[in-house]
Subunit: 320 residues, 2 copies
């Protein structure tokens, strides 16, 4: 019997202009996955789920359908085929969810990343973190039907991660400016990723697209040169935000409150309903987060919300 506890934190994908190509990790909150290895082979599956807490009973216990166990199964298949590790024992998985589901905070990616970092440790570190990202992305397909990487990659790798290409997968890690803080506010309402995706146009004008990639280039420049003002000016999304904002009650009031409180910029986290803002100090980020929380409460929908203030996570998924 050997037990390992993995941890991976919340991530924000679709970072404004960086729709589908840019995500980042914060330091908290995060999901924990406890894996217990036994030599005794199980009859039906090498991985079983012993317990899930914090999900309100929403997540499946079938190891092939639950994201965190599914990615461990994929990982085991891979190390059998490519690392000459023929695992014949059994892994019991306990998932402790601290991230809300369908929140835009990379909940499924955090569970997958925590499970993978623990499984890799359990097996003697056969894979690099970059290899683990592939399984975490496969987990996203199980969780939400689309194998996107903008949560999965930063959940494993930390920092900002830019997805240059999916075929082949080409991920570029961008370190965060030292004083960049994220205020993340999760209103108590759900917005399904599939629905949030369905409101997006299939076609966009070349002119609009050009605006978006001008901002992507500028945002990356701002991050790499610690130009906080430029980061703020570049946090513009002319594609997804205009379509998705109406799906989030109070979005415009919350964004305005963030900017009025000194945020560099503010946009939808992932496909929502959570909203993130960047600030150039922890103190400002705290004021910004509180103002956003207040704005949700005083908007027409009177939404309660949870709020976190965090720097960008440098290390990604880790063993606790």
């Amino acid at each position: 019997m050997k037990t390992v506890k993995g941890f991976a934190s919340a991530t924000v994908g679709n970072v404004a202009c960086g729709f589908d190509v840019l995500g980042f990790a914060i330091t908290e909150p995060g999901d924990e996955v406890i894996l217990t290895l036994s030599d005794r082979a199980h009859t039906d599956s090498p991985v079983s789920i012993s317990a899930i807490t914090g999900d309100g009973g929403a997540l499946p216990l079938d190891p092939k359908k639950n994201t965190s166990s599914f990615v461990v199964l994929k990982f085991l298949e891979y190390i059998r085929a490519h690392k000459q590790i023929d695992f014949t024992g059994h892994i019991s998985l306990e998932l402790r969810k601290h991230l809300p589901l369908s929140s835009g905070m990379g909940s499924s990616a955090a569970s997958a990343a925590a499970a993978l970092i623990a499984a890799n440790e359990l097996m003697g570190l056969p894979c690099s973190k970059m290899e683990l990202v592939h399984f975490a992305i496969e987990g996203e397909r199980v969780a939400c039907g689309s194998a996107h990487a903008d949560n999965a990659a930063p959940a494993i790798l930390g920092n900002f991660v830019l997805i240059r290409s999916y075929t082949p997968l080409d991920l570029i890690t961008i370190p965060s400016p030292e004083h960049l803080y994220c205020s993340l506010v999760h209103p108590h309402t759900e917005l399904r990723t599939a629905y949030a995706r369905s409101v997006l146009p299939q076609e966009i004008s070349l002119k609009t697209a050009t605006q978006q990639w001008g901002n992507v280039g500028a945002l990356v420049t701002g991050l790499l040169t610690s130009d906080y003002d430029l980061i703020g000016r570049s946090l513009v999304d002319v594609i997804a935000e205009p379509k998705r904002a109406p799906l989030i009650p109070g979005f415009f009031e919350v964004k305005q409150a963030a900017l009025d409180s000194g945020a560099l910029g503010c946009s939808i986290a992932g496909s929502g309903p959570s909203i993130f803002a960047f600030s150039s100090s922890e103190k400002t980020a705290l004021a910004v987060g509180n103002a956003m929380k207040e704005a949700f409460l005083h908007s027409k929908a009177h939404l309660q919300s949870d709020m976190w203030v965090s720097p960008i996570c440098k290390e990604g998924a880790r063993i606790l």
Copy 2:
């Protein structure tokens, strides 16, 4: 009588994925503009054109229609309105063109930039280079009907210039990696900017657009971190190049020749017909340029061409 000679070099706009948002300047070739100031006021216009050489008689001599004189007129209007400099004398302008017209090498922008840097010197440097960029962009409207900045801005400022936004104009200068060299090949054929623009789609798929901005983010990262391999991987244009390549006889052979000779990447310069390639040493860039020139010659169209190898220009327009 006071005489000043300004110089500005060729520039490449639409840098692969950076369609309409990214341009850079090379060190040669360039256009020269000689301005001669006299106190005697002219009856009809404060600026007249005394001579143009190197254009084969193609450029207008009317100071309101010629880009180089037009931008000087705009500059004089601006310093009258905003710098309290009421110029009552006369400027005689001589334009020495060394850049081919309609070549994709930023010919009009070079003439405008050379004229502006000289005019600013002549008037005692009332404007910053960033202010001068505005007039150079206005010059592009006169030259080709579209006030684009991706040649005008690097012609004045040097380096790579990213255009985050036009309204308001937000330009970000990105210095070049030390060992980045450009091979620029101009085949002896013309391609009108307006025609090259007419073949572009008005609408593009969101999926394609996302690929493009992933590459923009990665290219900027490569430039800022001197990651030559990443620069090469990111020099991908899934929007304009597929539509414009067929307008340039021999494009595919020339691009393949560049890549086979060790270029990091290769794409259309501006709207063509010139083609540029990046290499990570001067020696490779020379071999690449020669291979591209050969490929044009041996393609079906048997095109003669001119070729330049140059590092990225750091200083932009300057006084000679």
